[in-house]
Symmetry: C2
Subunit: 622 residues, 2 copies
């Protein structure tokens, strides 16, 4: 394998010493980037410039379409960097203290830069891939190298797989800027790059509110640019079932409307669209909790408590942690008949080897609405809710696994950590071949990996993108405080500095996300089981109208965190101040592409690097 050499080359390359000399600052930061000093290279690539020696099979088209997309975009956007890295300036000294010189206004940034391209233009692109047939699945080699040599007229990309080559192209796309009316790369450049983690995801939720295919594609476009490679799709929930199935067409009676549904063709289209951008789609059908819509249209007796009051106001009788209630009846044999058929058909729609089968937030009160469950407990006083959860694991997981074998796939299962760690209803034994997604305390990451589970980190304290937006339940008297109980502001309460109705408040900023040391305190073997992270954007207050601004640019901070990390490879310190300009520039870039990423600070701040820092000390975050 000649490409194993790239790993060595990474180590051999000098760290990104000359990077400050150029304006571009691609996101995520590549592992290694080395700039020349011989001047800008004009980029004159067209759709026909691509050469792919040895290319074959379906993936060849993937590379050609990606290249064509990049060429089209750089020519359309004609990007002038909106924010560039610079040291913090000196400011006028406070009278009676000292600190020389004045704040420079960055006029150059606002005018664009009048640099001249020299040397031979880049007129060809060569993409060499070692294995054209490697499938896009968990763990596929995503590394690449990219070179634009001083005396070369070629963009040269090498990668073990097409998926690495696609990442090379999104890096290249961010290197091309407009200077003096010409598209250029600022200097000869050599990049060697690979991700720190194989699973880099965001989770979107079409169960609480519908998300259109068009808006999902828009998010996939932005994900590809940040090298996020997994869209975990929480397809349904108790509230709605938007997915059309041949087996049970009646399930979409619980879609919100005829328009708010996904056809089989829609899903096929999305899987293909994502794959062309090196993104895997992992479907989630959350079972046996969070289940009512759709299922109750097959047979209302396989669902428990769907007609109950969720009863958060009377906690001993609560049947759900949010409206509306509903769980599959674990002791009803018909449940498994229908689950199997739904699992089979949904599985056939998706190409990924991983299928997420939920397993979170089972509520004991809800199961009380099933007479068979009540009788089962009455028949043997030693039975616990953990036994009930184990019954689900023992019966459902073999069905899922058998189905996977039938389909000739090597499918694996993913579940939420509750099935292992819930305080109320943990199963006693869950096979360690199930990948577990951790969303509660960060301490659970160690607990899960020490038990031998491959773990995806989705911690709510750092990565829940829906937090801090207030509550989504109505008739809530808690908002009615008229006076701050602590006018000193020393302590926080519901309406005063506190959560304000959002259980996972506060809002997770790009800085919070980037600061997450999710693999801290793990042994080497535990750390090896962390396969990556997924940032969930739960959908109670999300739909087409606001999704782009909620995801972006924050998910880009996650993209870099799991691709090349949050630390400067030279100093080992957190590189939050470097990220500031990178993510500010990237946000403006998304807006230029028509994606409504939210502003994170006044534009003054991005036009004046570090003027809006909280600390003058650039190593305040360590």
């Amino acid at each position: 394998m000649r490409f194993s050499a790239t790993a060595l080359a990474v180590a051999a390359l000098a760290a990104a010493g000359a990077v400050d000399a150029v304006k571009v600052n691609p996101l995520p930061a590549p592992q290694q980037i080395q700039w020349g000093t011989s001047g800008a290279k004009k980029i004159a690539l067209g759709p026909g410039s691509l050469q792919t020696p040895g290319a074959k099979g379906a993936n060849k088209d993937v590379v050609y379409s990606a290249f064509s997309r990049v060429v089209k975009t750089v020519n359309k956007v004609r990007w002038v960097p909106a924010a560039i890295e610079a040291p913090i300036p000196k400011f006028e000294s406070f009278p009676g203290t000292d600190a020389p010189a004045a704040l420079e206004r960055r006029e150059d940034l606002r005018r664009g830069n009048p640099g001249k391209a020299t040397g031979s233009p880049v007129t060809t692109a060569t993409i060499k891939v070692a294995d054209w047939s490697a499938d896009l699945q968990l763990g596929v080699d995503e590394s690449y190298s990219l070179s634009i040599g001083k005396d070369s007229n070629a963009l040269e990309i090498t990668a073990p797989t097409v998926w690495g080559a696609l990442h090379a192209l999104t890096t290249f796309q961010q290197l091309v800027i407009l200077e003096d009316g010409q598209l250029v790369v600022e200097q000869p450049v050599h990049i060697v790059d690979k991700p720190n983690y194989p699973h880099r995801g965001v989770m979107l939720d079409s169960g609480r509110n519908f998300l259109s295919v068009q808006k999902l594609k828009e998010q996939l476009d932005a994900m590809a640019l940040t090298k996020l490679n997994v869209l975990h799709w929480h397809l349904d929930d108790t509230q709605s079932w938007p997915l059309q199935l041949k087996t049970y067409p009646q399930m979409t009676k619980d879609a919100y409307s005829a328009r708010e549904q996904y056809s089989r063709d829609d899903v096929k289209d999305l899987v293909s669209y994502a794959r062309k951008r090196a993104i895997r789609l992992i479907p989630e059908i959350d079972m046996p909790g969070h289940s009512a819509a759709g299922w109750q249209q097959i047979d209302p007796t396989i669902v428990t408590c769907q007609n109950s009051w969720w009863s958060n106001d009377n906690w001993p009788l609560h049947t759900a942690v949010q409206p509306n209630p509903g769980q599959l009846d674990i002791l009803n044999d018909k449940t498994y008949t229908h689950v199997e058929k739904v699992y089979k058909e949904v599985g056939e729609m998706f190409a990924d080897n991983i299928f997420h089968v939920g397993g979170d937030e089972l509520q004991t009160g809800c199961f009380n609405f099933s007479s068979s469950i009540r009788e089962w407990f009455a028949a043997d006083a030693s039975r616990t809710y953990a036994d009930l959860a184990q019954y689900w694991v023992d019966k459902a997981l073999p069905i899922f696994k058998a189905e996977n074998n039938t389909a000739g796939k090597k499918r694996e299962l993913m579940m939420w950590e509750d099935i292992v760690l819930s305080a109320d209803i943990p199963a006693k034994q869950v096979p360690t071949d199930v990948i577990i997604q951790s969303w509660n305390s960060p301490a659970n990451i160690k607990t899960l990996t020490s038990k031998g589970y491959r773990t995806v980190v989705s911690n709510n304290e750092f990565l829940y993108l829906d937090c801090g937006n207030g509550g989504y339940v109505s008739n809530d008297p808690r908002y009615n405080d008229q006076t701050n109980p602590d006018p000193t502001g020393a302590t926080f309460s519901f309406n005063y500095g506190g959560p304000g109705g959002s259980w996972c408040a506060p809002f997770k900023t790009w800085q919070r996300i980037y600061s997450f040391d999710f693999a801290a305190n793990l042994t080497e073997s535990e750390a090896a089981l962390v396969i990556g992270t997924t940032a969930p954007l739960w959908g109670e207050q999300i739909d087409d109208t606001v999704i782009a601004g909620k995801l972006w640019p924050r998910a880009a901070a996650l993209g870099e965190l799991v691709w090349s990390g949050n630390k400067d490879p030279k100093t080992g310190l957190k590189r939050l101040t470097q990220l500031t300009q990178r993510i500010s520039n990237f946000r403006e870039y998304l807006v230029a592409l028509g994606i409504a990423a939210a502003p994170i600070m006044p534009k003054f701040c991005i036009q004046h690097p570090h003027a809006c820092d909280l600390y003058y000390n650039q190593t305040a975050v360590v």
Copy 2:
């Protein structure tokens, strides 16, 4: 004045007893609405259906264009109510407890309703206005009555002024729905309506980030529908000066770009656009604090500390509460020369009698950068910063007032409460003819009105729409907590249930806004000085991309709060549960109009009235 009779009619009308029988639920709720029972009336109005006996002058066109807009919109949107009022349903009883019947799924809502229109269709509209010349200014009579009689073919609107007539039309617009393929009003209806407060505003900020004319117009469209009648436009701030002036064209050197500026024609266009929708534009030039951009291009010596480090990290040396610093030099005579000219030209661009001249957040540290201020304090040890603020008040306010007289206007001034109440730098005496805007503690509302100031309420604990979105400053080590200091969750800290970088966290939900009893604890004479409220949406993290979702539907809760209040006129209790369906429907309506209002809950909740309430008890909020 025959229209003074409407005030009596309001009291005489029965309270909205039959309102539950119909689906429409206009927002804000009218003061009095009486439905007939004789069946739906088909609406067959065209642009030529309007009669306006006695109409004259420029305001006639305002009414005709508003009518034409309504006719066009109802025919285009063909609205089917997305959420309707209904009692909370019964749910299946928790095993071992009692509570009969099952949750109904609201199939009718999702299918649309097959009702039939009967009786004579409405083919004409008559708008009778008593005073066609009344100008749109603070306190103009905005009352109206609206009738569609059982045997009438006319929509009949009467109002003292065209501005009341415009409000009647936005009410009518929300009454028209699609049933059985026809546009109808569900029953004969009679409405008598008027606002509780004359000043009902939102504040937008084009100083921190630019807002395009197009997006401002979109917000004006939505404001008109909720009868919000003031756009307080915080035009500039230290960060940027987007307004082109003839007097000082150099000021827009501190606009963010050539594109991110307002021409004089843009402003004229916006003033006219707003006026056609019964909305006043109040300009704010914030002085002498929050001043750097623009001013420094006229003469850098009239600004202090603009080149200093804002120094929040070293509080004794701080020069601003946010980056970037800058205040007008109060002791520099040239300051007043330039302030006068800027005030004059901006004043000429706007039609409103009120001009906001700022006055908030003066920082002592910033003034230390002025040698003349340092010398002034050195010359007399008895001088205080309050004396300095008084110097500004004594010198600047007469200039503003003289200018108003010169222009032949009856202009009044508005200022932030800091100029009266600041802990650091309050002026000693501010004339009570200045309208004061209160944004700190709600207790200040009483303090200000007891001092005799007309007061606009913009309290940050209820009405700041930008809160809860994390911080807008970079290099912030506070996000770096890796462990919750209180894992019990009993107390909140920065990253755990606490503010997360937003000084005015949490996010203010529609329920929080609506719950605000801002006139509580006031004497009658104090209450009479509260002229209304303004909800500010400060712009550090707002621009075109996210503004609609941040404003809407939350500002609609404010619209109702200040129009007809938050209490049921029958019971005197808060009517939050009624608002739920009203605001949910209104949010969907805005989306149908192309305005990206944010979802406030899963769509399940709006299809199932009260299923997502926190409390089953519908009078939990009192």
